[in-house]
Every structure is written in C-alpha cells, then in structure tokens.
C-alpha cells in the first residue's frame, strides 16, 4: 500500500481519498471497515454478511477462483457445432452402483438439461428427479473448489507431492495401515483400478459403504438358487401382480424407471389390464395403483409370504424338485376375515394366471421373503416370462455395508491412512457407529467429495471431486450393461474423479479419466470406431449379463419370530428409508429437490415422521406437530405428518436431512444456516439396520408452519366434506367392468346446462392446435415431471418460508388426493399443468393483455407486459399460475438487467439457466407454456427442412421424462396424432369443463381392475 502515499487519483470516491488521509490509507489496508474478527459472532450484521457473502468468499479466506481465459475466435468451427444450437450428448449417472443412461442437452458448452436415454434398458427414455436435478448440483456455488489440508487452502500439486511421499512410503510397507472406503460402484474401471491398487498395496483394505443399501436382494437369490443372480421384471406380460412391500416403480428400486414403463402399460383398459395386489407397510408409488391393497406392518410380510407359499404350492401342481412348501404359519392376523378374504382371492387369481403373474419383494424385506418370492415365481411358471435372471456382474459384492462400516470404525486404531472416495460417512453412518470420532483420530485421512462436508471437516485432506458431468467414467445397469459416463464440461472447480485420484495414488502424475476408461474397455472396444460408438450411445454393446434359468434349491423352513407372527410389541415399528428427493443426503444442498414436495406428505424443505391413523389418534397428532421420535436410546425431533393408508403401528422417516455442512441450501453451521430437517441416521442401527422395533413418539407440540404445498389432510370437517363431495368429479375413476359397460362413464360424471359464452371462440385454429392428454391410470406420482419442468423453464426455488405460505412456483404440480376410510385410504395423483383453455378465464381479466391467446391455442404469457395485478390467478379455476412475489433470482440476475451480478460463484449458478426461456423478475405472473420454446425449435427445424412436423416430434419436458408415458403432447388438428386419439378416447374428460373454459388438457380416467370376488 506504500504506493498510495504518493498516488493522487484522477477520479476519486471521497474527499478522504482525494486528500489521501491516513484514515483512508488505513481503511484501504484494512479492506473491511470493521475487521470480521471484531464483529461479535452472533450480531445480525455478521450473520447477514456471512449469508450474503458466504457463497462468494471461500470461508477460510481462499478467495474465489474464476478461471479466466483469453477468447480466441474459432477460425474453423468444430464439426457439428453451431453456436446457439443446443446439442445432446449421451452419458450416464450412477447412484448406488446403478447406472441410468442419460441424454444431456448442452448449450454452447454448458449442460443445462438431463433426460433419460431411450436406449438404455434401465431408463427407457425416462429419468427421475435425482437425474433431473443433478444439473443444478453441477453449478452449485457451494461446491468445493479448493484442495484443503487440515482446513487450510492447498493445491493439487501439494497433494501430489504429499501423495508421492506418503504413498511411496506406504508401498514400501505393503500398504499396511491403509484403508480405502468407497461408495458402491459398478464401474468396471474402478474395479480395475481397485485390483491394481490392491496389488500395489497388498495389505490395504477396501470397504464399500452405501447408506440405505441392503443385501436382501442378493441374499434372497443366494438362498433360493445358491448363487446371486440379478432379477429383472417384465411387468408388461403380467396379468396378476403381487407386491410384498416393493415399490417397484420408484426410482429408488433397482430398475424402477423401466419397471414403471412396463407396469404402466398394463394399466390401461385398451390392452389387457393387470390386476395388482399390494401388500405393503407404507404407501408406495406402486401401491397407489393397487387394485387391492393390504397395509401390513413390515415384519408380518414374512409370515404372509410363508402363508402364500403354503397356500399356492399344493394348487400349483409343483414339480417335486422344487421342494416342499413352507408350513402355513399360525398367525392371528392371517385369520382376520378381511385379510383372509383378500389372500384367498389373490391366491386364486395367482394360481389362475400361471406364467402370467409376478411376485415382487421389496429390498427392505429380509432375504427369506425374496427367496419365497423367487420360489413362488418359479412355481407359477413366471420365470423367463415375467421374471428374468441374469448373472450378477459384481459377484464379489457382499453388500453387508452396515457390518463393514462398523468393522472399519472398530478397527480404526490400526488405520494409519484412510482414503475416502466420495460419500459422506461422518454424517451418513448409523447412530451407533461413531465414524466422525474415529475419523478424527486417524492420522492421515483423505476425502474426495463434491462438497466440503461433515467428513471433509474432520479429514486431514479434502479434495474437490469432479461432478459426473465433468468427468469420464463408466458403470453398469441392473442387467450388467456398461454405460460410458462422458463429461460435458471441463471441471468447473478443478475437481478430479475417484478414478483419477486412484490413478494418481498409483503413481501417475497426470491422471486422465478418458485414458483409464479406454484402457478398461480395450477388449470390448478395440478400435476408435467402436469406442466412438460406445461413447455416442453411452453403452457398450455385448456387456449385458448372461441370461440364466437358475435352478431352485429347497428352501428350509423360515424362522418366524413373535413380531413376525403379528404379536403386539412395545412401541412402534420404525422404517428408516432413503429419501426419494435428497437420497442419502448427497442432494441435500440441491434447491430443486428440497423444494419438491414429498409425494404423500406433500412436504417440502423438511423430513417428517409419517404416522398412521391409529398412532395419530393414540398420540393425538396432527400434521406438523413436533414430536420426539426415539428408538434404541437415540432421539430426533421432527414434525409428524399423518399418512392415511399406512399400516397400523408403523412409522416411517427418511434419511438425508439434518446436515450441518451441506451448504447454503441444506444447512451450513459455519454460516449459521440451520439444517433442513432432522438427521434420521441416528435412528439407524448397525445391528438392526433400517427397520427398528420399539420406537416411541413423544408429542412436543407446536413447531413452525410446514412447507406443505397441498392442504393438510387433517383440515377442518367442512373442508374435508367439501373435498369428498367433489373428488369424484375431479379425479374420475372407475372399474374395468364399469368402463366396459359404459365407456363414457367419466364424461357423464358431471352434468351441466348447455354451455354458452359471451365471447366468440378466439381463433379458428388453422394450422396447429396444441393439446395434451394425461393418463391418470398411469401417473405414479414420481415428481420427475415437476423437476424436469423446473429445469427446462428456469423456475426459481423460493425457499421454505415462501412454500409454507403457498408461494411455490411450480408450473406443473401433482395433486394428491386420498379417498375412502383414512385407515384404508385410496390415493390418486393428478398432474396439473396449465390447461391452456380455449375460453381462458385468465385472458379475459388481464387489464394489460399480458396473457394472450396464440393462433395455435396456447395461453401465452407476455412477461414484459405483465404488471402483476394477479387477477388472472384469482380467476384461474385450476390455480396453475404463480406469481413472483419477490425477485427470486436476485442473487444471479441482479436487480435490473443493467446491474448484473459480478459475483463469480453466482455467475456459475446462472449457467444452469435455459437460455431459451426468460428468467422472470419480480412482480410478474408465470405459468406453464406447453414448453413453447420446444414447439418453436421443432417448427423452425421442420420449416427449414420443408416438411410437416411429425407426431411426437415435439415433446414437452414433462412428457420427455415421464417414466410411465402418462403425459402426451401433440397437435389436435392432426387426427392421427397420439394426443388427438387419446382425446377421442371414451374415458377422456375435461377437468371443470362445465365452466366452459374448454381446457386443452384432457385427463384419461383411471380404470381399476378389481377382483370381482373382493368387490
């Protein structure tokens, strides 16, 4: 600063500067008017500062690193690249060792949208909320950008130096004291590196730990066949489906997306319909479509499975080599007349559909249940028809993760160096496994992760990881097919993948993910052409597991405990499960996922304990009441939400919340941002796993207003009656019998006088006439469309407080309705986009013409004209319009277009925006546009090519990602288009059509196929 003394500025900011007073010089030197150290830690000033600036300043003073490059124009345009034209690349994302093939849209070099790869057998073109939201995670400003050693900024060079010395020394010792902890991965390259690593360090140990993973699938197969096979289902051929606590359409279920596709195809009356019996403890996405549903505590399902075996074996004329059946268990609950009737009818149905039935067991169920399911499928002749088996591509994976992590912590004293490849074990380990404490004692711990999380903070080295969209890799699908993970962007924060880190530790100074992947596959992909093709499709042909017809072994009699036979025990059963949104906690800092409402609880920005009706009554609980949930001496405090249809005495809570080092969204202790939700890992036990008995609930009462997007179930009696009264008109459902008798039954649910209008029909709709059909019989309420819409249309995240007030911004929401007796409630989903009414009530009341009817029948929003009277929302009977009550994009776009943010981290955050959709500012209304940008792109393309637009060429974002094909978009003027044909279906109906709005979205009534014997 000495130069300041002589410096006389030409332009000056203050007189002090001009005069260059000592005070000013001191001010400049101090940089901040009050040194941060002098601000008391709890003063609002400091808190505010940290909140606002926390993201932009590395908290340890590392500063930001906005990589700058000189721009050089491309003298020769790279082949196939046109600036401003989005391109799609195939890649894949791996969670819990399962690949989902993806197509990622890249706009001028930055990935902005993720969709399923139609050719990938586990995706079939669909993807889940986790994949959809992963692109937001890529640009998360909270991602780690610095190598840290002991909490202080370091660099990869320094780490390389350290690694060379340290691992060189370790190599000399044969790797004694070296321990590697990795997430579950099916990557052949990682397996290859692991082998090489263990060769280099023969005494090193390798532990795999994946939260929420159970070995039941594998052990069930071993029990049934003596060997682990992977089970694949083909629901499309099944006529009778039985689920034993299996949410087989959920994205958390192995191959759930593909199951959802094949399952949903059997749920329309146009083809032969399946009949689905769900026996489950909590409501599942699959269970929502059950024709008959039996809520049962999770432990009793084992007894029920044994009963099924006992009942079916004699009737199925089993071959003698299949062995004896289980003895019929003597359980009181099986003799309950209602249950008995249910099971008798179901058994009859199963036995009557040999070769066309399917029994699926859930991963939370013990191995015996899986073994019985395998046996029953074999008995009923389903193998090779609805059930397929392939060789397990990872035969060495024992899957006993809880035991493994417990052993690691128990033996932590002998660990000198712990290498943690991804994951966050300091947070995501059971309450009785003190991983954090053990980690702190380990001398050398190296943690590679996307965020500086709970584990990083007690590791000696933190290394920033590369996102899956930034790095090369590979992984396997459920059937073993290898997918290539192709990066779409260079690492934004200098991160490296686990593959590259391992290669570095093996002595390669310049690890290159691509070379590693290429080397792994040099056998299957020998030449450049094959490699290019595999990358292009993101799949390696010929790696699918071998189909097998495994031979059933005789199953010993399964032991049934008192609880499994239905004996009342003290306390409740507690299911601790992975969260469908934030998973095991890895997506806790993802705003899209946090804001997403839970499908049954409708709760955003929190986890809750789902309580069944009987517990709610017993403990006098309502939605949102704070409770202390205890099991095994550990207690967490969180709100309760009443869950109709949940088995009596069963509680459910999800993992992934209550994080202290997630980031500015999910909770960050250092910035005094409270964690979102409560940490349910405390309730997991390394002995008992994720299903606990003897849980208790203590009502605390009070609690903040929950961020629930749909009215609470326990609304006042009037609201309840009003809902019940109108529900049959809103969500129209009927049975197959009813449908056959009177196909137009759904249209006749509402009678209205002749509909007259004051206005002439707006336009004649020459040319196109866009419309949508939503099949309620297919929607499983997975939320993928909601997040896809958010990603496509730059929908802002508002936060907990606004959502609790009713200010969430989703253009597409999924309404969830319960029906019938609460204990045994039926559930229905109804996706609700803008209905694009022809006679739109919103258009008539806008004083400034900000919402107008297009020639093709869209209700266009003109943001620039909108002054925000909100009258349109008041007059919209579907309430699909959302208002920017604040400038929700203030941090990324600034107050006005002329004052953009200069904060580099926020600039990175803004890279996620789809440039084809306006980023809305404060004070304007917004709503679904039927993805008008996609319509225009295809129209332009077709016009350039001088051809008409083909049906299904334009697909909306929601349609694109829907695993069940429930949403169909197209041109109603084209009578051959899918949507036009669906609109002509007898079960198509207009929601609130009696208001004469003429909605362009028609719903297809849900048809159920109940067993006449159970009617």
């Amino acid at each position: 600063m000495s130069s300041l003394k002589k410096f006389k500025p030409l332009y000056w900011r203050s007189l002090a500067e001009l005069e260059n007073t000592p005070e000013f010089r001191e001010f400049v030197e101090r940089e901040f008017a009050t040194p941060l150290e002098q601000v008391p830690p709890n003063s609002p000033q400091r808190r505010r500062f940290l909140q606002i600036m926390g993201a932009s300043l590395g908290l340890a003073g590392a500063g930001c690193r906005w990589h700058e490059d000189k721009l050089v124009p491309l003298t020769r345009r790279p082949d196939g690249m046109t600036p401003g034209v989005p391109k799609k690349y195939a890649t894949s994302m791996e969670i819990d060792g399962q690949a989902v093939g993806l197509h990622v849209t890249s706009y001028d070099g930055r990935p902005i949208k993720v969709d399923g790869n139609p050719r990938h057998p586990d995706a079939l073109g669909a993807c889940s909320v986790l994949q959809q939201a992963s692109v937001l995670g890529l640009y998360d400003p909270d991602r780690s950008d610095t190598v840290k050693r002991g909490g202080k900024a370091s660099s990869w060079d320094e780490f390389s130096k350290f690694a060379k010395e340290h691992f060189g020394a370790l190599r000399g010792k044969g790797g004694a004291g070296l321990h590697v902890l990795s997430e579950r991965s099916s990557s052949p390259t990682l397996a290859d590196l692991r082998t090489r690593f263990l060769q280099a360090f023969p005494q090193a140990k390798w532990t795999t730990y994946e939260p929420g993973h159970t070995s039941a699938l594998r052990k069930g197969s071993e029990l049934a066949f003596g060997k682990a096979y992977r089970t694949l289902y083909d629901f499309s051929r099944a006529r009778v489906i039985v689920s034993l606590d299996a949410d087989f359409v959920s994205h958390l279920f192995p191959r759930g997306l593909a199951n959802a596709r094949t399952f949903s195809r059997t749920r329309t009356p146009d083809r032969e319909m399946s009949r689905f019996y769900a026996i489950e403890s909590t409501y599942t996405h699959a269970g929502a479509h059950a024709d008959h549903r039996l809520p049962l505590p999770p432990r009793q399902i084992k007894a029920l499975a044994a009963y099924l075996d006992a009942a079916i074996t004699p009737q199925a004329k089993a071959l003698p080599e299949l062995g004896a059946a289980q003895p019929s268990p003597d359980a009181a609950f099986l003799k309950d007349p209602k249950t008995k009737k249910f099971l008798d009818a179901m058994v009859k149905d199963l036995v009557g559909s040999v070769g066309r039935s399917l029994i699926v067991a859930g991963p939370e169920q013990p191995a015996e249940v899986h073994a019985i399911a395998h046996r029953l499928n074999a008995l009923l002749g389903n193998v090779a028809r609805t059930v397929l088996y392939v060789e397990d591509p990872m035969p060495d994976d024992a899957g006993e993760d809880l035991a493994a992590i417990k052993a690691l912590v128990a033996g932590a004293d002998s660990v000198d160096t712990l290498l943690i490849l991804g994951g966050n074990p300091a947070y995501a380990t059971p309450g009785d496994v003190p991983f954090g404490a053990a980690l702190a004692k380990i001398k050398n711990s190296i943690h590679l992760s996307l965020y500086e999380d709970e584990t990083s903070s007690s590791s000696s080295w933190h290394l920033p990881a590369a996102h899956y969209l930034e790095s090369w890799g590979d992984s396997r699908g459920m059937d073993g097919v290898v997918s290539i993970q192709q990066p779409l962007i260079a690492p934004l924060h200098g991160g490296r993948s686990a593959l590259e880190l391992l290669d570095l530790l093996l002595g390669n100074d310049k690890p290159d993910g691509f070379e590693l992947v290429k080397r792994t596959h040099q056998q299957t992909l020998p030449d450049e052409r094959a490699l290019r093709r595999a990358i292009h499709e993101s799949m390696v042909i010929g790696t699918t597991g071998q189909r097998v017809m495994p031979k059933l072994q005789e199953l010993p009699k399964v032991a049934l405990s008192e609880a499994e036979l239905g004996a009342k025990s003290n306390g409740y059963e507690l299911i601790v499960a992975l969260d469908p949104k934030v998973h095991d906690g890895r997506f806790t800092n993802n705003g899209w996922l946090q804001e997403l409402p839970g499908m049954f609880s409708k709760l955003a920005w929190d986890n809750c304990v789902l309580v069944p009706m009987d517990v709610a009554k017993e403990q006098n609980l309502e939605d949102g009441v704070l409770v202390d949930l205890s099991v095994g001496g550990k207690t967490i405090r969180l709100p309760a939400v009443v869950a109709p249809g949940q088995a009596p005495g069963v509680l459910k809570v999800t993992l992934g919340y209550g994080r202290t080092h997630a980031g500015h969204v999910g909770g960050l202790k250092s910035a005094e941002i409270e964690p979102v939700g409560a940490n349910a890992y405390l309730l997991v036990s390394s002995e008992d796993g994720y299903l606990r008995s003897g849980a208790t609930i203590q009502k605390i009462g009070g609690g903040p207003r929950l961020a629930m997007v749909q009215d609470l179930y326990a609304i006042d009696p009037i609201g309840h009656e009003g809902t019940a009264e109108r529900l049959h008109q809103i969500v129209r459902e009927g049975t197959l019998e009813e449908y056959r008798e009177k196909p137009e039954f759904a249209k006749e649910r509402v009678h209205s006088p002749p509909l007259l209008s004051m206005w002439k029909p707006p336009t004649p709709y020459e040319g196109h006439k866009w419309g949508m059909a939503v099949d309620l019989g297919k929607c499983i309420g997975c939320n993928a469309c909601v997040t896809a819409c958010q990603a496509e249309n730059n929908i802002p995240v508002t936060g907990r407080e606004p959502v609790s007030m009713g200010r969430e911004m989703f253009w597409l929401r999924i309404d969830r309705y319960y029906k019938g007796e609460p204990e045994d409630a039926e559930v229905s989903f109804q996706p609700m986009p803008c209905q694009q009414c022809e006679n739109a009530p919103c258009e008539q009341v806008c004083p400034v013409g900000a919402t107008m009817h297009s020639k093709e029948g869209l209700n266009d929003m003109v943001y620039n004209r909108c002054i925000g009277t909100r009258y349109c929302s008041n007059n919209c009977p579907y309430k699909v319009r959302h208002f920017n009550y604040f400038n929700y994009n203030l941090d990324v776009i600034g107050i006005t277009p002329y004052t953009p943010t200069e904060d580099p981290k926020m600039k990175i955050k803004s890279m996620v925006f789809n440039p084809e959709v306006t980023v809305r500012s404060r004070g304007v209304m917004e709503k679904c546009t039927f993805c008008v940008q996609r319509i225009q792109n295809v129209k332009i393309k077709a016009k350039n090519e001088g051809r008409p637009i083909a049906d299904q060429e334009i697909r909306t974002a929601c349609q694109d990602t829907c695993p069940t094909e429930a949403i169909v978009f197209g041109d109603l003027n084209d009578p051959k288009s899918l949507v036009a044909r669906l609109h002509k279906q007898p079960r198509a109906y207009e929601l609130l059509g009696e208001l004469n709005n003429r909605p362009r979205v028609q719903y297809l009534a849900r048809i159920k196929n109940p067993n006449p014997e159970l009617a």
Binding site: Q710, D711, I715, D716, I718, G719, G722, T723, E725, R726, L727, Q729, I730, W759, P802, M805, G806, R807, R813, D815, R816, Y817, Q830, M832, P841, Q844, V845, C846, P847, V848, G849, R865, C866, I867, G868, T869, R870, Y871, S873, N874, N875, P877, Y878, K879, R881, H882, F883, N884, Y885, F886, N887, R922, G923, V924, M925, L992, L995, N997
Partner: protein
C-alpha cells in the same frame, strides 16, 4: 318554502336559533382561530404518525415486492383489494348526500354535505393508492391507460380492472369538482373576513373572484344542479363496476348477479357509518352542535337501518342462490364461509353489519350521539370484514382442493391498513382546520328563520355572499 317542507315529511331543516351571522361566525371561527383546539393537535399528531407508517410501508413494499404482504396463491388479493373496496365504499356517502339527496330535496343534508364530500374525496384518495401499489411492478401502472405508445400496447378492455380505472377516476374527478364548486361562496366569505394579506390572497385565489352577484348565483345553482345530475349515476356505477371485479370472475362466492346492488347498498351503509363516525366528534370538537343536530344524526341512523337491512338481505340471498343454483362449488363456498376456517370473520361481519344496526330501532339509542358513534365504528369494522369475507374466503377455497390455502396477513399488511387511516385523518383534519367544514351558504338557505320569514334574507344584507335563498327556494 314552507310548501317544500310540508310536502316532504323527511325534510328537516337545521334547527337552532342562529341568525345567519352566527352561522357564519360559527363556521369561520374554526378556520380563523389562531390555534385549533388541543384535541386537534393530538388527533393530528396521531394521524401524522399513522401516515408516516403508511408511507414507510409503501416504500418498503415498493423496494422489496408484494411478497412483504401475506398474499399468496390462491389468495392473490387480500388486504390490498379489501382496503381498496373498503375506502371506495366509504367514499359513497359523500356523493349520495351531495347529489342524490340534493335532487330529492332532502334539505337537511346541508349541514353535513360538505364534510361528507370531503370524506368522499379523502376516501377515494386512500382507495386509489391501493390498486396503484398492489401491482407486482408498481412502476408500470400506466400500462393500464390507453396511451398510444411505440410498444403498440393497448389495454385489454374486457378486463373489469380496466373498467375500474375509468369508473374510479371519473368518480374522483366529479367528486372533486362538486366539492370544490360548492366551497367557492364559502371561500369568498373567508376571503372577505380575512385579517391578513396572505389569507386574503390565498382564499381569494380559490374563491375565483366570487362576488355573490345574482348572475353568479344563477350560474352557480345551474352548475350545481348539472353536477348533481351527473354525479347521481356515479353513485350507482362506481361500486357496481367495482363489484364487477368479482361478479364477472368465475370464482364461486364472487360470481353472483346480486353483487352490483349489494355492493352499492353496502357502500352507502359503510359511507353513512363513516359520516356519523366523523360527525359526532367534529360537532363536539368544533362546537357545531347547533348546525349538526341530533335530528341529523337520527336521520342518518335511520338510513343505516335501511341499508343495513339491505346488506343483511344480500347476505341471506347469497346463501339462497348458492343453494338454489345447485352448484356444488357455490354451495360449498357459502357453507365454508359461515362454518369453515374463516367463520370468525363471517360472524364478525354478521354481528357488525346486521345485528348492531338494529339497535337504532330504539329512539333513545339513535338520538344518543355517542351510541351513534360507537355503532358507526362497529359498522365500519363490519364493512371491512365484509370485503375480507368476500375476497379471502372465496379465494382460499375454490374449485380444486389441492390448491386450497389459508391466508395470514403480515405485519406490513396491518401497517398498510392502519396507515391508510393515517392518510385519511391527516387530510380530514387539515380540511377541518383550513376549509369551510359546513356549507355556510347552503345551511342558511334552509335556516328556520329563512323558512319562516319567507324572503327575510334582506335583513342580513351584510353577508351578501352567502344567501342563495332565492335560488334554492325557486325549485
């Protein structure tokens, strides 16, 4: 002149034994006093405080966005539009008294018409602020005006909000003209009584050269009559148009053909309640008991009974029509209104608007100024709740149960509500201090002395500017 009185049994002239000079003295004294009473200072201080709160709330709102209110989806309109309709309603009594009662020869109106008109104008000012600041982008309200522009934008005239703009602005214009014109002779009186040059100059400017000549009186009377005739339909149209905001919408609870008359009756009800609320303290404070007499209060209270019964009828009829329509959604809305989550608001409204005015059947109560005042305040509260009930309960639970919500106002909402009273009272207190609170000229026209002495105005030749007797008597 006597004939007029006898023809109309409701005609009540200002009583008391004031000669004309005393009337002038009584009214001018308030303006000419060196200091207003201490109570005025206290009231003005409170009003200014509330006004400051109002302005701060508006500033905060404009800076941060509408989100500082409790509005959300589905209740996208709440306190903002409630306050707007409330103030517009208040603004009705003024024109009704000035125009309709004038045309109906309700001569008793002369004692109260001036400040009822003032009240109207201030209420319309308060009302106009709300739609202006309630829009999401408050810097762009001119998009609603039909101003030719290079963006080729034009208002969408099918929107009732667009009709509002014209209805309210027309109403405001006519009301201001009417009010100002009526004050011209009184301004001239002030001018002539001025003791300082500044006063004389200022009142001289606003008196616009009034000399009190016959010709001027003649023109004045004609103009007054024409304005009254123009303003009369406005009394009905403004609130009818405001009610269209709701009636033309599809929302159950809004979509009702009864709304225009129901709103007009409600507005008159609320407006008169506000007039008594203001008149009682004003006559006490400024010694106008002899001009605004108990008889006046009683007459206004009778109007309150009549209009109160009308709104009561409308409340009942809404329920009947909801049931008779056979519409499930409509039926639910009303059951929910009375027994649902906002039942407390509904029953507050019923108590204030239907039950309370019935006390006025008792002469003892309706002739007691302070009972009148209390009931007036209660009715004002009730009328505010009426708009709350209509707007919030209908929006909170409409067609699809999935979008139902519960509206909770924020602190800023309350600041805006309370603050708007600050603006109103600040303006009103300034009016009391600086402008003729009672139409001196008009009151004299119907003074008993005039009525009993026929053309006796000649005796009071000294106050030539304020005796339009002939003109009035001529009708």
């Amino acid at each position: 002149m006597d004939a007029v009185r006898n023809d109309n049994p409701f005609a009540v002239a200002p009583r008391g034994d004031n000669p004309f000079a005393k009337i002038t003295d009584n009214v001018s004294r308030i303006v000419e006093a060196e200091r207003p009473p201490r109570a005025w200072y206290i009231a003005f201080g409170i009003a200014l405080m509330l006004l400051t709160i109002f302005l701060s709330a508006i500033t905060y709102l404009a800076w941060e966005g509408i989100g500082v209110w409790g509005n959300m989806i589905p209740v996208a309109w709440a306190f903002d539009i409630i306050n707007f309709v409330f103030w517009i309603g208040i603004g009705h009594a003024g024109t009704l008294i000035s125009a309709i009662l004038f045309l109906l020869r309700q001569n008793w109106r002369t004692s109260i018409n001036r400040f009822a008109e003032a009240m109207t104008i201030f209420a319309v000012i308060c009302a106009a602020i709300f739609p202006g600041v309630h829009i999401g982008r408050p810097w762009l309200p001119y998009y609603m005006m039909p101003i030719p522009n290079q963006m080729e934008m034009w208002p969408q005239f099918r929107s009732p909000l667009e009709w509002d703009i014209f209805a309210v602005s027309t109403y405001a214009t006519i009301s201001i003209l009417f009010w100002y014109m009526g004050m011209i002779p009184d301004f001239a009186t002030f001018r002539d009584r001025s003791k300082t040059a500044i006063r004389r100059f200022l009142y001289g400017i606003v008196a616009m050269g009034w000399r009190g000549s016959s010709r001027q009186w003649h023109r004045y009377e004609r103009a007054y009559l024409i304005l009254a005739a123009l303003a009369t339909p406005l009394v009905l149209s403004v609130h009818s148009v405001v009610s269209f905001d709701f009636a033309t919408a599809q929302l159950p609870g809004w979509h009702a053909t009864i709304f225009p008359p129901y709103f007009v009756a409600g507005a008159i009800f609320g407006g008169f309640a506000m007039v008594v609320t203001l008149a009682v303290p004003a006559r006490q404070l400024f010694g106008l008991k002899r001009i605004i007499t108990i008889d006046h209060l009683e007459l206004m209270n009778k109007i309150l009974i009549a209009t109160g019964l009308m709104v009561g009828y409308a409340y009942g009829m809404e329920f009947f029509v909801a049931w008779y329509s056979g519409s499930m959604y409509e039926g639910f809305t009303f059951i929910n209104r009375a027994f649902g989550q906002y039942a407390w608001a509904y029953w507050t409204m019923i108590f204030c608007n239907v039950v309370t005015p019935q006390l006025h059947w008792f002469p003892k109560i309706r002739r007691n100024p302070w009972a009148t005042w209390v009931i007036g305040v209660i009715i004002n509260i009730g009328m505010w709740f009426e708009r709350f009930v209509i707007i919030v309960t209908s929006l909170a639970r409409d067609f699809l149960p999935s979008s139902w919500g519960y509206y909770v106002p924020t602190f800023v909402d309350y600041m805006m509500l309370g603050g708007s009273f600050g603006l109103f009272f600040t303006l009103f207190l300034l009016f009391c201090r600086y402008l003729p609170m009672v139409a001196m000229a008009e009151v004299k026209a119907f003074h008993p002395s005039v009525l009993s002495h026929g053309h006796g105005h000649g005796e009071h030749h000294g106050e030539s500017h304020d005796a339009p007797v002939a003109a009035h008597a001529g009708h």
